[in-house]
């Protein structure tokens, strides 16, 4: 069936956005939590260098997914847009502020302005995935009526939706931290490798707890999906997700970095596919809208498949080129002033042609600082989990 194939393409697009675009949002989250100007220099520099050349390409997956959604399933698209208008507007505002804040920070030279642009970028990196998560959570919980014409506040403030929002933030932070471990390792920056490994582990704990919370919350809101996830056809995906999460945690604990990024991405992809497979063939849970009865005419579906094939052929190798150049540190610099909010005194900005790259001197002192930090990060993470759990409990009892 063409509509099933297109459903798969849409889910693949969502997966790619989550795995690549999500990590860029997570980078903003770690930028937000990197602390004061002096202490946050080294991580902010690494985050900035890792995101800069790739975030726009990764962002396009969102647009691509939107287009496929409305082209293939226009009625369901309109229902989602009507019901969840408010979180979508808020996510959109976050997207605008994130992108422009990030781009502006690079060009600003005054420290205070850099801080303002950086805070805009970092804070909206937190807000955007949260509201996107509530949108997905509301859909999964079956709170989007098939013929919705009105926005609904209840739809996206249900426990499932809010949990999904927190989960998205945690998952973005998790992916970003794992990727940044790899980035730091490829630059030979041991201090940052450890710094982000600890954060990746903390985020893994939080994301894992929130995933379990969301899973059991689904028992109330969408029992069919819950059964399929825990004992039905979607169980293998849950198992893969769990194994990947544990594997990443263990590998980071022993300081292994090879292949960890791929495992982390696979784990997140398994969560997305678990959700998709669990609710298949229903498009909007809680309604009778399925992939086949909500779909566009056959010719449109075929056209989407053709565009997707073209994307694989054209966009795939282009991304491969971009990531491989990025991986070999061929991209960077340009005529930019150094990111003062992220670069220590004495570090002469990004290396200019012919000039040798210098390691930020502050990085040498980072381990002690980071050692003190590990406890506080774990404590913060634990506190966060407990708080979120308490909020959810309260809401359920109400």
């Amino acid at each position: 069936m063409a509509s099933d194939a297109v459903g798969g393409i849409l889910l693949a697009g969502v997966t790619l956005y989550a795995v690549f675009g999500g990590a860029d949002f997570g980078g903003g989250l770690w930028d937000l939590l990197a602390g004061t100007t002096a202490r946050g220099r080294a991580p902010r520099t690494l985050i900035d260098e890792s995101i800069t050349p790739v975030w726009e390409g990764n962002h396009v997956w969102l647009v691509f997914d939107l287009v496929i959604f409305w082209t293939a399933f226009p009625h369901a698209f309109a229902a989602v847009m009507n019901t969840l208008a408010l979180p979508l507007w808020l996510a959109l505002a976050g997207i605008v502020l994130r992108g422009s804040g990030f781009a502006f920070r690079k060009e600003l030279s005054h420290l205070s302005l850099q801080r303002a642009a950086g805070a805009t970028f970092a804070f909206s990196s937190l807000v955007t995935p949260f509201f996107m998560g509530t949108v997905i959570g509301a859909i999964a919980a079956g709170d989007v009526p098939a013929d919705a014409t009105r926005a609904s506040l209840a739809a996206w403030t249900s426990p499932t939706a809010l949990l999904a929002g927190f989960l998205f933030v945690a998952a973005c932070g998790y992916l970003a931290a794992v990727y940044l471990v790899g980035e730091a390792a490829s630059r030979g920056n041991r201090a940052m490798q450890g710094y982000f490994a600890r954060r990746a582990q903390a985020a893994a704990v939080v994301a894992g707890a929130l995933s379990l919370g969301a899973l059991f919350e689904l028992q109330n809101s969408d029992p069919v999906v819950f059964d399929r996830l825990t004992s039905g056809r979607a169980l293998p995906f849950v198992v893969v997700a769990g194994v990947c999460g544990l594997a990443v945690f263990a590998l980071l604990a022993v300081g292994w970095t090879k292949g960890v990024r791929g495992i982390a991405a696979l784990g997140v992809a398994a969560v997305v596919w678990g959700w998709g497979v669990a609710q298949y063939p229903v498009l909007l849970p809680g309604t009778s809208v399925t992939l086949s009865n909500a779909g566009a005419p056959e010719a449109t579906m075929v056209a989407i498949i053709a565009v997707f094939v073209a994307a694989v052929v054209l966009v795939g190798p282009s991304f491969a080129l971009l990531y491989s150049l990025q991986g070999r540190h061929m991209l960077g610099g340009g005529e930019h002033v150094a990111l003062a909010a992220a670069v220590p005194v004495g570090y002469v900005g990004q290396p200019t042609a012919g000039r040798h790259r210098r390691q930020p001197p502050v990085a040498d002192h980072a381990p002690d600082d980071a050692q003190n930090h590990v406890g506080s990060v774990t404590r913060t993470a634990a506190l966060g989990v407990v708080t979120i759990a308490a909020v959810i409990r309260r809401m359920r009892h109400r």
Binding site: G57, W70, T71, L92, A93, A103, T300, L331, R358
Partner: protein, 469 residues
Amino acid sequence: MRASGEVLHSVAQMSAQVVPARGQMATTLGFHIILACLGIAFPFFVLLAEFIGLRRRNETALRLARRWSQAMGVLIAVGAVTGTVLSFELGLLWPGLMRQYGSVLGFPFAIEGLFFFLEAIFAGVYLWGWQRLPGWAHWWSGVPIAASGIFGAMSVIAVNSWMNQPGGFTEAGGQITSVSPWQVFFNHAAIYEMPHMILAAYMVAGFLVAGVYATGILRGRRDRYHYTGFAIGFVPAAILTPFQIFVGDTAARSIAQDQPVKFAAMEYVAQTSRQVPEWIAGVYVNGRVYAGIKIPYLDSLLVGFGPGTQVTGWNTVPPADRPPVVWLIHLSFDVMVGLGSLLLLWGLWAAYEWWRRRRLPPQRLFWWAGAVSGLAAIVAMECGWVVTEVGRQPWVVYQYLTTADAATSNGGVVTSLTLVIILYAVLGAATIAILRLLSRRWRRGDTEESVPYGPSPEPQNADAGEAGR
């Protein structure tokens, strides 16, 4: 009674969202379209500068390319996010349009998505590859940006032209039953809308670049750097201007056939008649044109090359199917044509001076015109969008779906419109401030910078990476 009252009430409520929703779409599209023009065409000018720099070993051109690509980085980022706003708004403001025709107009958007990918990916390579990619490899990495700008623009314009001349689908009982994607893409209006907009983008970008350096020259910075910057922007844009006027003229004639009511609003044709006069400027109120210049027979001449040509008036459709505020459509059209013609004359002036004396005109008026040429191109382009969008009203899909039926029934559009206006004002001001900051920084660095400048002949990271360890 009660039921009909409710229907009336809901219709009134729906309509209440139409005006703010249109206002918001106009604001966000009007803002984004400037960045879109730069996204489509500016990479071409950057690549042209780099090409000249590499081919002729011209340090000045290379320096310009490098600096422009830094500005391009900011503009592409802001353009990417403001473009995403429009994708969301199609669903958030116009769910009626997407529910009914999403499956039809989705295909061109999907094609656009492909080119948006290529543009964003290669922008990542080009913008950040200046230092470590070898010269010509770096140049080639920019070519897909310029190419996908053109093809992406074609795809988006395919959607807009389809809304003006819908086709390529069948509808039965309110459901879309079949779609021919390529007929949707290459609809009847696409043939003139696509080149019109792409040329407009090249004119906006070229004249903006020229304007920046013309301003510098006016302020006394008469150096090789400024003249090179001016010429790289000015020459392609000025060459394209006559083509644009030809395409625009063809488009107007096609609109007289395809969307006669829009054309009637553009030219103040109230009654279908022959020997129709052309109105230059003027405001139409209650059947009279005030403060306009009337040129007898000219409209008929322009439409059919003869004074006896019949031109359709807006009296052919009931008042509810006519576009609102015809004077806005007419004046926008006149401003667009007027500014386009002035830009043509300005280009001809330079061409004449070059032909006779092998130099650019030294008169200050020429450089003053240069300083405002970018702004003029933007105003002309925005006016063109007012003509095509307001002129299509009350339809969103011409003769298939009204804008009122497409609009969201959710309240709060006035609030979101207000917030959007504030956010975009800040965003626009910040973007301009950043570009000015860059220009000031470059100017300060003019004396400090040392050559060699430009992409390094060999990748340099091998030793650089070692040094870090």
